[in-house]
């Protein structure tokens, strides 16, 4: 008997693709969702972005996965049913769900619209809901979600290209605001040009910030400048280029999740500059103290954003016509897509 069937009686049939073990191989999976509760919104999933976190989770690279695991936390669709106490949405609305579907709603973080930092925050997939059931993500046909954790997608944003904003978008938008790297005229570096990186370039440009993409791959330069609108491109393995760029940046958004040296990046910052880490390598990085002190520089982290800010980010994206660059795939291509993602062979997000 599958885990889904052993759970408490749930009444909505659902279909998705799940990983069954650490090979990460996904295959069709029948399960069920809860009945639409008073505050729930049920929607038909139209698209779901493939986030690199999905890859980490299906292979249990963080050691927290339980199987079967239905990934997907960049979910967009159309409302089909609402609970009796739902006030913000109606049938037919275009909506999205990101990385979380629940939180305690009473701690300081929740009270300050920072549900993402609530110690009891519930992940959209691979988590345990209030009723004890496992949460299943957006590589499926329907979602049933508490209205508090749903955002509205404005009409002028195409659903497919908006999906990745629900994780990649908020993950870069939130620190640009929190660390004050959003002032016109500032110079911000973006390390890594993938799902997060390309979104960071677009948001920062829309905020009036000068952007330099910092990458190990020289072949991404043309695209970064001509297509994404970056102002310049820095090959981080080129010592001469790095030397010239020293002390020129107010901030750096670092999206790279592999081990990499921080010292050259800290050197690119002006005095009082800030580097924000969004990718989390498994092992610690080396932090040299001298450059931090002598320039009064900061190394910080950030993780997605709260619901209020996520809606604000979507509205900002709609106003500035920001969407992700995507490759739409049918769900049965998903295993190939994952293999290509491992090799960073995607401009810049798959959406299924």
């Amino acid at each position: 008997m599958g885990t889904a069937e052993e759970q408490k009686v749930q009444q909505k049939k659902a279909f998705g693709w799940a990983a069954r073990d650490t090979s990460g191989f996904l295959s069709p999976f029948n399960f069920s969702r809860r009945e639409t509760g008073d505050k729930d919104v049920t929607f038909k999933v139209v698209y779901c972005g493939i986030c690199h976190s999905d890859l980490h989770m299906i292979k249990n690279e963080w050691g927290v996965s339980t199987y079967p695991l239905v990934p997907g936390h960049e979910i967009v669709g159309v409302v089909t049913e609402i609970g009796s106490k739902v006030e913000k949405f109606k049938v037919g609305d275009r909506v999205g769900v990101g990385c979380m579907v629940g939180s305690c709603r009473s701690c300081d973080s929740c009270a300050n619209n920072l549900e993402n930092y609530c110690p009891k925050m519930i992940f959209t997939y691979g988590g345990t809901y209030y009723d004890g059931t496992t949460t299943y993500g957006g590589y499926s046909d329907i979602m049933v979600t508490d209205e508090h954790f749903i955002v509205r997608i404005p009409d002028n944003l195409p659903l497919d290209a908006a999906a990745p904003l629900l994780c990649a978008g908020i993950t870069v938008y939130s620190p640009l605001r929190y660390y004050g790297l959003d002032k016109p005229g500032m110079h911000v570096g973006v390390v890594g040009l993938g799902g997060l990186g390309h979104a960071a370039v677009k948001f920062a440009k829309a905020m009036g910030v000068k952007v330099t993409v910092i990458s190990t791959s020289p072949n991404k330069k043309k695209e970064a400048i001509e297509h994404l609108g970056a102002d310049s491109f820095l090959v981080s393995r080129d010592q001469d280029e790095m030397q010239v760029a020293m002390s020129t940046m107010d901030g750096i958004i670092d999206t790279v999740s592999a081990q990499h040296p921080l010292m050259p990046l800290i050197g690119l910052l002006k005095s009082h500059g800030k580097i924000v880490l969004l990718g989390a390598p498994e092992k610690p990085l080396e932090l040299p103290a001298f450059p931090l002190l002598v320039g009064r520089k900061i190394v910080g982290g950030s993780a997605i954003g709260g619901m209020k800010e996520t809606q604000e980010m979507i509205n900002f994206a709609a106003k500035h016509n920001i969407t992700a660059d995507i490759e739409v795939i049918p769900i049965d291509y998903v295993n190939t897509a994952i293999e290509r993602l491992v090799k960073a062979d995607v401009r810049y997000r798959f959406v299924n």
Partner: protein, 358 residues
């Protein structure tokens, strides 16, 4: 041929210098420049012994040039002022800290952040514009541009106030910059030495709850009863560390040896800030998960600008904050350095220069 240290300037001076990386100090006759229009000449009465002096004497940062006269917590009395000097007059009680010059033109200087000016000149172990070396406060007199001289508040004892010129500003500046001033917030102070003990006092004066974080359980009684800390955490005790997880808004890390950051990061609340002011020789290990999952940050800070240093002195005078010191004579400096290396001091040695035979 280059002139000797005694001959290169018009005014004879006496100090103690380290000659090599053994770090042993001995008498050193040298000379100071003519008092220029913007300069103030100071007869030195006291000089604090900062751990940086020890690092420099032994060339632990690899940048020392010998002979090296350390000392950047200098207090004395004005004996001469240049024609253009407006801020001071003869007999004023004054102090000199970690820097004696900067470019005065860049963005940092214009924002009263001379300490971050790329051309900032350190009080000792730096080279003057005329190519001669700068010698620090383990000496009988010094000549400094008035801009870099601090007024000593009337009610502040000269000897116990001297360490504020480096230790004081080094903790005060980040406390202001990183917003550690909201009454009732919780500050952790890692390391209880020259910097740490002043951080406790300033933190309490700002109305913060203060916890001392230390590897030495025997410092607890003093931290609480004498310095006024609210609590004490032995960082090598896993149970105590766990109980204190996620309880602090900020931590000032004064420890200058290499040490693990993960236990300190775990003590911080959401949005917590770990500010490091100690300078270990090797890089620290920075675990990223606690930064990302709690939107925490690690920042650095390096002394403070002149305006802020004066502000800090006035703040300390108002709140009767001075360092806890052990007064020594200059000829005891080598023993003091050995004790400092073993952290055997409550909490700063100060050299009674005025009463020492140099």
């Amino acid at each position: 041929m280059a002139k000797s240290p005694e001959e290169e300037h018009p005014h004879k001076a006496l100090g103690w210098a380290a000659r090599d990386s053994s770090g042993v100090l001995s008498p050193f006759p040298f000379s100071r420049r003519e008092n220029g229009d913007d300069d103030v000449t100071i007869k030195i009465l006291y000089c604090g012994v900062c751990h940086s002096d020890l690092h420099s004497c032994k060339n632990e940062w690899g940048v020392s040039s010998y002979p090296l006269v350390p000392g950047h917590e200098i207090v004395g009395v004005v004996t001469k002022v240049g024609k253009a000097v407006t801020k001071f007059k003869v007999d004023d009680k004054v102090g000199v800290g970690v820097m004696v010059s900067s470019c005065k033109k860049c963005d940092c200087c214009k924002q009263d952040l001379e300490n971050y000016c790329p051309q900032m000149m350190l009080t000792y172990n730096s080279i003057n514009h005329d190519g001669t070396k700068n010698y620090g406060g383990y000496s009988d007199m010094i000549v400094v541009d008035q801009h870099y001289v601090l007024r000593f508040p009337d009610n502040m004892p000269l000897d116990a106030g001297a360490p504020l010129l480096c230790a004081g500003i080094t903790v005060y500046s980040p406390m202001m910059y990183y917003g550690m001033t909201e009454v009732g917030r919780h500050l952790g102070v890692a390391g209880l030495g020259g910097l740490g003990h002043v951080a406790v006092k300033i933190g309490k004066a700002m109305g913060l709850k203060v916890t001392v974080i230390s590897t030495s359980p025997k410092k607890e009684s003093e931290a609480i009863n004498s310095l006024g800390a609210d609590s004490f955490l032995v960082s090598t005790d896993p149970a105590k560390l766990k109980a204190a997880m996620g309880t602090m808004d900020y931590i000032i890390d004064t420890v200058s040896a290499v040490h693990p950051l993960l236990p300190l990061l775990s003590l911080l609340k959401l949005n917590g800030k770990l500010i490091t002011v100690g300078l270990p020789e090797k890089p620290l290990e920075l675990p990223i998960f606690p930064l990302v999952l709690g939107r925490r940050l690690v920042g650095g800070s390096d002394i403070g600008g002149i305006k802020e240093t004066q502000e800090m002195l006035d703040f300390c005078a108002k709140h009767n904050i001075t360092a806890d010191i052990e007064l020594i004579k200059m000829d005891q400096i080598n023993t003091a350095m050995e004790r400092l290396a073993k952290s055997d001091v409550r909490y700063r040695f100060v050299i009674d220069v005025g009463n020492s035979k140099l």
